[in-house]
């Protein structure tokens, strides 16, 4: 048995292990006390996993476990990650963004033209059928988009649809989408989150019926759905051949909702499940030793940074001094934290946006190198030779926050941790009661800078620095269609934010996947699990 294990372990491509982790939006209320158990679980698994039978490959069924259940499978009525994963596999969007090149391709639309600043005309593909046999045409697009964009219909993902003013049918296979204002992000949304429903069926059953019996055009069709428990999908054998999504090969996919991470781990170890994601770094690393498992990691779009409240009435007026803000940025050794805690797949950031986003750039931005001596000097110049006390609010990746606190302590800044729920931290920020906050932002997967930087710097509720010049530039970028102009105004805005040290850019979060070794799988920064691309080895 020992021999076999060694052989299996050495057959893994090594580069899979050199990348690293992420944590989920919710680490789970039962997560922490089990750290100790995890090691024992793994050890026990190692001893007994030898004679493992891989049920998944045998019955052509990929079993995935996920910790959160979506409130609805209708893509417009949930805002959890697994909802996005189900949506991408069961539904199609008008456009498609290639995850490697970030280039747009036609999916349900064949081609598109920008008629004017607010109008996009799309030529639709013919011969596409929904899972229930309904034909896809202009009516599907018109009905779906006009329905979800109407605030009366209470779509949960407002940010994905509120830019749509109306959608018009030109002929059976041609539509025009008109936005409320010039909206350069339109193609981004149309290629990621704006799924198309069958008009007749959706009109008949509404979002509730769509949740009970989901119908899309995608590579997988839902055959059984038990809310809060499990969803079963089957390969769509009639999936349209011209789709940029590959034809699916795995016959069946079952996603079960298992809230507890240790239970999920026990399931993959015992062969009950084939695939889990968002596995904490330390535990994923231990699972690497298992002969029946593979551990994969990849970068994500989620960025991590620290916000500093410099509004009038801030509980921490010392942050108003630019030298203090710079001192904080210089105090943190980002490289060391990434290496030891975050994981090697993470990327250092110098601006507050996701590097893959259109309009996001690190170029020309002031870089704050780790330099505790300079940090202390800056603090002394600002009148704080002995440092000061400050509150630091955080809501996830507590181990990272604690590392930051230690680095701040080293230059004399005594940060007191206030660990909260996301909603509570957000309330605090919006009520002008926060000082330092350890923030993260996933941009809802939108690969355009308008989905990240403006949230924190365009005078919205979460903007606690409020620089008028920055807002002006961001607003201009958000409403300009010309890519060159956008690029340059965003660059200028990001430059000012970095130069004035309005926030401390930290790193992007990686994510860990653990899968049965029979599964062939690729990780993408958008954290989408593309079942249609997966296969058995």
């Amino acid at each position: 048995m020992a021999e076999r294990r060694v052989k299996a372990a050495s057959s893994y491509p090594l580069n899979m292990f050199t990348r690293t982790l992420a944590q989920s939006p919710r680490a789970g209320m039962f997560g922490m006390p089990f750290k100790l158990m995890a090691a024992t679980l793994v050890a026990a698994g190692l001893l007994f996993a030898g004679g493992q039978a891989h049920a998944g490959k045998k019955d052509d069924t990929l079993r995935m476990a996920y910790d959160q259940a979506p409130e609805s499978v209708d893509p417009y009525y949930n805002n959890v990650r697994v909802g996005v994963i189900i949506a991408a596999n069961v539904w199609d969007t008008l456009l498609y963004r290639d995850p490697l090149t970030n280039e747009y391709k036609g999916q349900l639309a064949k081609s598109w033209t920008q008629v004017d600043d607010k109008t996009l005309e799309l030529e639709l593909r013919q011969g596409v059928k929904f899972h229930n046999g309904e034909t896809f045409d202009a009516d599907s697009v018109v009905y779906t988009l006009n329905f979800v964009a109407d605030p009366k219909n209470k779509a949960v993902t407002q940010q994905n649809v509120r830019w749509i003013d109306k959608v018009e049918k030109i002929d059976q296979y041609k539509v025009r989408i008109i936005s409320k204002e010039p909206f350069p992000g339109a193609k981004e949304y149309l290629s990621t989150t704006v799924a198309i429903h069958p008009a007749k069926y959706y009109a008949e059953v509404g979002p509730q019926g769509m949740n009970a019996k989901p119908v899309g055009t995608g590579p997988y069709k839902v055959v059984d759905y038990q809310p809060g428990k499990a969803i079963t999908m089957e390969r769509n054998t009639e999936y349209f051949k011209d789709s940029p999504k590959r034809q699916p090969t795995i016959g069946k996919v079952v996603i079960r909702f298992i809230p507890d991470r240790q239970t999920q781990m026990a399931e993959v170890i015992s062969g009950g499940e084939d695939f889990i994601m968002h596995v904490p770094k330390d535990q994923a690393e231990q699972l690497k030793g298992m002969p029946n498992l593979q551990v994969l990691s990849g970068n994500t779009m989620r960025i991590v940074f620290m916000q500093m409240n410099i509004l009038d009435g801030t509980p921490a007026p010392q942050l108003k001094d630019e030298r203090v803000r710079r001192a904080i940025a210089h105090a943190i050794d980002r490289e060391a934290i990434i290496k030891n805690i975050v994981g090697e797949g993470a990327q250092i950031l110098n601006t507050i946006c996701t590097p893959s986003q259109v309009g996001c750039t690190q170029e020309g931005a002031t870089v704050y190198k780790y330099d505790p001596a300079l940090s202390k000097k800056l603090l002394a110049e600002a009148g704080f030779p002995n440092g000061f006390e400050i509150d630091l609010a955080a809501y996830r990746e507590r181990n990272q926050t604690e590392a930051i606190i230690n680095y701040l302590q080293a230059v004399g800044i005594k940060a007191k941790l206030n660990f909260l729920q996301y909603a509570a931290m957000r309330d605090m920020t919006r009520a002008n009661k926060s000082s330092l906050t350890h923030q993260t932002w996933g941009s809802n997967l939108v690969n355009d800078v308008s989905a990240s930087t403006p949230v924190y710097f365009a005078f919205g509720g979460d903007d606690i620095t409020r620089d008028a010049k920055v807002r002006e530039l961001l607003d201009k970028g958000d409403r300009t269609i010309d890519p060159q102009v956008r690029q340059s105004v965003y660059k200028e805005a990001l430059g000012i934010i970095a130069d004035k040290a309005y926030a401390v850019p930290l790193w992007s979060l990686p994510v860990y996947y653990v899968a049965n070794k029979d599964v062939s799988f690729k990780a993408y920064p958008d954290e989408l699990v593309r079942f249609w691309e997966m296969s058995w080895k």
């Binding site: 209320m29 089990f34 026990a44 698994g45 609805s72 949960v156 979002p207 240790q262 239970t263 170890i269």
Partner: protein, 305 residues
């Protein structure tokens, strides 16, 4: 007896009502439901819209009164998370939780009765201590930890039980053990005390003097009498088991009321949370009431006070 029951019933209703008020207040104090509903990507305007749409902008007293009035009319509200009526949603999960509760009770009795009897027979000896230790261990071990030990042993080492889910009876074995072991000590002590008392009674001496075999004396004569208070305790403990299954159901991904409670807490699903709290408190109160009445019926001394 009738006066006693009426008084108890009135008290029970008051308790349930108080619990529901407390639950309602605490849930609203714990954070803004509109924020949670809107999710991470929402802007202020979206949140305002959601707040209005769900009536969360009204004063809390009005919200509570409105809720109670609807409940009394049989309208249990809509789950704001699952977007389905809360009543049927909860009802659909109740079966799993009841099954788990009864199975756990079975486990508790299966562990505590032999241990209690053994401890009473060898009162004060090493065996007594040992039985007590086994029972107390159940209470001392946090049940989530014990649950993981069970998973390691039965699912990973032996591979004879499924780790999680609720499809077959096998899925209930580990959750029932994890939950039942925790309440075993209470029964065990009760049985031990009862047995010690009964064993020193005159009629046991008579039975022994008659030359009956020890087994008949212990199980037929003594245990039958010692077990009476256990019946009453079982009713109360079942109430505890229904409420206490939140952690166990979450670990084993059992699709019951406890798991639903966990989900509704995570997603601030107020209507569902309130309904679960109300249902559990009513069940608990009813079970306590049943045990009071059973006790009073079995033991006239209680009725007097």
């Amino acid at each position: 007896m009738l006066a006693f029951m009426t008084k108890r019933l009135g008290l029970a209703i008051l308790v349930a009502l108080t619990v529901s008020i407390l639950a309602f207040l605490l849930l609203h104090l714990s954070g803004d439901p509109a924020l949670a509903l809107a999710g991470e990507g929402a802007r202020q305007a979206d949140i305002e819209m959601i707040r209005k749409a769900y009536g969360l902008d009204r004063p809390i007293v009005v919200q509570y009164a409105d809720w109670l009035w609807r409940i009394m009319q049989g309208d249990f509200g809509m789950s704001v998370y699952f977007k389905t009526p809360a009543g049927p949603l909860i009802l659909a999960k109740l079966g799993t939780t009841l099954m788990l509760g009864v199975a756990a009770l079975g486990v508790a009795l299966a562990v505590s009765i032999p241990l209690g009897v053994l401890a009473a027979l060898y009162k004060g000896s090493i065996i007594d201590r040992f039985c007590l230790a086994i029972a107390v261990l159940g209470q001392a071990l946090p049940n989530f930890f014990f649950a993981l030990l069970l998973i390691m042993f039965f699912s990973i080492s032996l591979r004879i039980l499924p780790v999680s889910g609720s499809g077959t009876w096998q899925h209930f074995v580990m959750p029932a053990i994890a939950l039942g072991y925790y309440i075993a000590p209470a029964f065990m002590r009760l049985i031990r005390a009862g047995m010690i008392e009964v064993l020193s009674a005159d009629y046991i001496r008579t039975a022994r003097a008659k030359g009956l075999p020890a087994r008949t004396v212990i199980f037929k004569h003594a245990l039958r009498n010692a077990i009476v208070p256990v019946v009453a305790l079982a009713a109360v403990q079942l109430g505890y088991l229904l409420g206490g299954s939140v952690v166990i159901e979450t670990i084993f991904a059992l699709d019951g009321l406890g798991y639903l409670a966990y989900q509704s807490i995570t997603f601030k699903d107020y209507p569902v949370m309130q309904l679960i709290v109300l249902l559990l408190s009513v069940l608990y109160v009813l079970l306590t009431l049943a045990s009071d009445i059973a006790n009073a019926w079995l033991d006239p001394r209680i009725r007097v006070s």
